[in-house]
């Protein structure tokens, strides 16, 4: 008896079931669940650290009371104005970046086919800065970011000549598109903001300083609208990773599924850039880390979102508390660390003979 359960457990390790009553049974992998739970715990810990560390931090014993409406004086100001919205935007934008990266990497079936590597994030940044600075009353920033993303993607798609199939071309075209987009952003910022170097760095690198609850609400709305659509798409997307013919045979309609995934990915990317700026390499790294930690196949959408939030909140915590530099834009930290990670990824891909 015990032996049979042993073997069955061994065989079932990849997919157990999460049962809710008798009607619902969601296939889950134990390792994924563990990683997800650990991710959420780390996220909460990082959030607490964000609120309580530093000179203006809310002391730990006061934190629960402050969170549930009892904040007073300086604590109230820190929570409601300074760190609360910043934390909300960091978590929301991080999750959206991570999810966006997971979708795009799943479509291109390559870690390098990620919105920040192929210039979409930079395009969104250009669109956002144009909307915020050139047409402040006409165009909402998220719409501008979305237009920029769409334009950047069209440009990348056309310049590769082979669509999204060839990762090498995709990335090089992305470098070109990112250069154009960044140059455009610089132009806009110099045209409107004149000589403001800090403002320029914020628009180019992305920053979480001086965020408002309005921006936190924007990214929350994007996640609430796009999240369920992604969930609907998840099954088909998993099938698509098995190859187009097989997916088509199983009724997953690969072309339409991929088109929908790209559209959702762009919406998420644009949403997060609109509230936090073109922060580099969260969408590259979060899905890859999810893949490494779970050692499984498939897009790992939920985990990518959780880990994206963890990464951005941790990066922002570093940006706020690292004594070495004085409150740099968080995008500079993610660019340094993400760039190094991208280098590691490249070498690994080359060892495998890909690219």
């Amino acid at each position: 008896m015990s032996t049979t359960t042993e073997t069955r457990r061994g065989a079932e390790r990849p997919a157990g079931h999460l049962r809710i009553g008798t009607a619902v049974a969601l296939p889950v992998r134990r390792r994924s669940v563990v990683v997800g739970v650990v991710g959420v715990v780390v996220l909460l810990a990082a959030a607490v650290a964000t609120l309580s560390l530093g000179r203006l931090g809310i002391a730990l014993p006061d934190l629960p009371r402050s969170l549930f409406g009892g904040a007073e004086g300086a604590d109230r100001f820190v929570l409601k104005r300074l760190r609360g919205p910043r934390l909300g935007v960091a978590a929301g934008a991080g999750a959206a970046f991570g999810l966006s990266g997971a979708l795009f990497q799943s479509v291109t079936r390559n870690p390098l086919g990620s919105p920040d590597v192929i210039g979409l994030t930079a395009g969104a940044g250009a669109g956002a800065s144009a909307a915020a600075l050139l047409l402040p009353d006409l165009l909402p920033v998220p719409v501008g970011a979305l237009l920029g993303t769409v334009l950047a993607m069209a440009l990348v798609y056309v310049s590769t000549g082979t669509g999204f199939r060839n990762p090498g071309r995709l990335v090089v075209a992305g470098i070109g598109v990112a250069a154009i987009a960044t140059a455009f952003t610089q132009y806009v910022v110099y045209a409107v903001e004149r000589d403001n170097a800090t403002s320029l760095m914020t628009y180019i690198n992305g920053s979480l300083a001086t965020r408002t609850w309005g921006e936190a609400a924007t990214i929350a709305a994007v996640l609430v609208v796009v999240g369920p659509l992604v969930a609907l798409l998840a099954r088909r997307l998993r099938l698509c990773e098995m190859g187009d013919e097989l997916a088509a045979g199983l009724g997953a309609e690969p072309q339409r599924t991929k088109g929908a995934a790209v559209a959702l990915s762009m919406a998420l990317s644009a949403g997060s850039v609109a509230v936090a700026g073109p922060i580099a390499f969260i969408s590259l790294t979060a899905p890859q880390i999810a893949k490494r930690l779970t050692r499984g196949s498939g897009p790992h959408l939920t985990l990518a979102a959780v880990l994206g939030a963890v990464l951005l909140v941790l990066a922002d915590l570093t940006a706020q508390q690292l004594p070495l530099f004085d409150d740099l834009p968080v995008g500079i930290y993610t660019m340094a660390i993400g760039g190094a990670y991208l280098g590691y990824l490249l070498i690994r891909e080359w060892r495998k003979g890909i690219l």
């Binding site: 132009y187 045209a191 740099l328 690219l355």
Partner: protein
């Protein structure tokens, strides 16, 4: 009838035709250069007419106009020098690596040079103009070696076209983060470097020009000496060897010259990308693949293009100006997209 008019390749008629074409292109190149030099002297926050410029050059103008135009001499001269350096460096790198995507900006060499200058300025207190050059050089060299090592890290499959560019992008990302972190956290140290960090011809004097000139000249001499060998190298390592060239020496010499030129350009005007990419592509389309021609024509077209970009940058946001590095990205990045489209195979 038809046989007599048809010219065979290599016949005297086609050679004469090719020479005429080259002369025409050369004339066009010099015209562009002259035009952009004139534009560089004319346009700025204070506009002056071409007549004023001529008057100043012949010494007939009033003090005010003379001061205005003369204040534009250094940046014009620097623009010419940097344009020559970047374009020839790009030509050399594309020849040596046989990679149409090579460019000192894209391969991270300019970023390496400027990171090294920024580090020396922030932590070692290097401030002099000549110091800049001496710090740019090791940074450029190190970055070049690193990108080459990273690009060939895969081993047996060799260095593909895309790998070097990706390695360059990675290095540029990390170094840019470093540069921005340092310059943002020490604003008072970098007040005079703020525009240099993005690539700008403004606010630098003749002293900068003279401090980088020897390195630029050395690089150019090496480039001219190597050009015939690069033609042989273009046929492949084995053919080059049987033609009496040493591929290893050619490669090392070419990369050394390219590094010297990129470091000189970066020390003078900051990290400017895409000039070294776009100019050789344009030149090849006009005069063909002979490297002796490519080097010569790049040296004429490069400064023309860079100065033109600078003039555009001065005009679009008057009385502010847009840094030349921003304008070249606008003009040059489409050249990268074009090159990607033309790439053959799966590389």
């Amino acid at each position: 009838m038809t046989t007599t008019t048809r010219t065979r390749p290599g016949s005297a008629a086609t050679l004469r035709g090719a020479t005429a074409r080259r002369l025409l292109v050369l004339a066009a190149g010099f015209a562009l250069l002259l035009l952009s030099v004139a534009g560089s002297l004319m346009f700025g926050s204070n506009s002056t007419s071409l007549g004023d410029v001529v008057d100043v050059l012949t010494g007939d103008a009033g003090t005010y106009v003379t001061t205005v135009v003369e204040s534009r001499y250094p940046r014009t001269v620097l623009g010419v020098l940097a344009g020559v350096c970047l374009a020839v460096a790009g030509t050399l790198m594309q020849g040596v690596t046989r990679n149409p995507l090579a460019d000192p900006g894209l391969l991270g060499i300019n970023a390496g040079a400027s990171a090294s200058v920024v580090a020396a300025t922030a932590f070692l207190g290097a401030t002099g103009r000549t110091d800049t050059m001496w710090w740019a050089l090791p940074g450029a060299l190190l970055a070049g070696l690193l990108v080459y090592a990273l690009g060939s890290a895969g081993g047996s499959t060799g260095t593909s076209l895309v790998r070097l560019v990706l390695a360059g992008a990675v290095l540029t990302a990390v170094l840019t983060a470093f540069i921005q972190a340092v310059t943002l956290s020490k604003p008072q140290v970098f007040d005079s470097y703020r525009y240099w960090v993005v690539g700008s011809l403004a606010g630098r004097g003749f002293d900068v020009f003279f401090s980088v000139l020897p390195f630029a000249l050395l690089g150019l001499v090496i480039a001219v000496l190597l050009a015939p060998g690069l033609n042989a190298l273009a046929l492949g390592d084995e053919s080059a060897t049987s033609l009496g060239s040493n591929p290893t020496v050619l490669r090392a010499g070419g990369l050394l010259a390219a590094t010297l030129l990129s470091a000189a350009a970066t020390a003078a005007v900051g990290p400017i990308a895409f000039v070294g990419l776009a100019v050789p592509h344009i030149v090849r389309a006009c005069v063909g693949v002979d490297f002796r021609m490519q080097v010569a024509f790049s040296a004429v077209a490069g400064p023309g293009l860079l100065l033109l970009a600078d003039v555009v940058g001065r005009v679009v946001l008057r009385p502010q100006e847009l840094m030349v590095g921003v304008v070249t990205a606008f003009i040059g990045a489409p050249a990268l997209l074009y090159a990607v489209r033309r790439m053959k195979g799966t590389a």
